[in-house]
Subunit: 149 residues, 2 copies
Amino acid sequence: MKRNSRLSSILHILVHIAEKPEQALTSEQLATFVHTNPVVVRRTIAGLRDAGIVTSSRGHGGGWQLGRAPKDISLAEISAALGETLLPFSTEPESPGCLVEQAVIAVLDDFRIAAERLLAEKLSHITLADLTADFRRRYDLIGVSSHAV
Amino acid sequence: MKRNSRLSSILHILVHIAEKPEQALTSEQLATFVHTNPVVVRRTIAGLRDAGIVTSSRGHGGGWQLGRAPKDISLAEISAALGETLLPFSTEPESPGCLVEQAVIAVLDDFRIAAERLLAEKLSHITLADLTADFRRRYDLIGVSSHAV
DNA sequence: GTTTCATGTAACTTAATTAGTTACGATAAA
DNA sequence: TTTATCGTAACTAATTAAGTTACATGAAAC
């Protein structure tokens, strides 16, 4: 899993989980989908469990399943559960007392807050169900197995 | 200069330049504002020169000045000149042939394009002049020197 | 109950990225 | 001619995140 592809990878994983609702998929299986290893998957996906987006079960036959229906899981929630901002520019003061910096940070923070609200609003209208629907459209068209390579 | 504070640092620098329109500020002076060193400043600011946002002059008395009036320099241009996207999540395919990944990337790319347009639009309405005005408001209120620490 | 198969998580290693630094050539004013 | 400045290449250091190893915990299968 490359840097900065966490959101993409997680969605990839979630759609695969959504496509096998009757069985729990193991971290190992999920790891092969995104070319990484099981521990990284568990670590990355842990936040989603805390948010109720997925559930995990231990022991024989255990693994990962969705915590609720795909249509009730929005990309906004997923993104939030990952705990990263979509706009990762820093506005930490580095020269406390510099009025120029204070002005810059004030303007930038206003922008960030407005932008984050906007992005979250857009993401809240896209659900996992939209992704699985898009996948199935492709699948019906081409008709090959759900995962090659 | 910390990671992810490039935009903020550049704006800090630009406002300082804007506040001394009659003189060129050296990389060394600018570096002290953002607690870094002259070479990093030159490197970071090089893209802005290519975009005509600042000009540089060599030799004795040389340094950096604005390429045009603050009111004609928008944050959208500055951000673009830095050559970084504001939404740095990757949508590079890692499993070509996986229809699930293709669906994820398609949806994510649509979102990214729309989001970037939106953010650029918002940033195009904020200019360096807005930042200097905000600074002056603070300055008039508190009345201390433009740069402490 | 013992074995097997999973997750949970801590601790460590490796890889990638970016800032910081040194060095020196080019340029322009004093 | 000296001094001050940028331009840039090459290297080093710091930081971050992914990858890995190891092992404890929990649950099903036999």
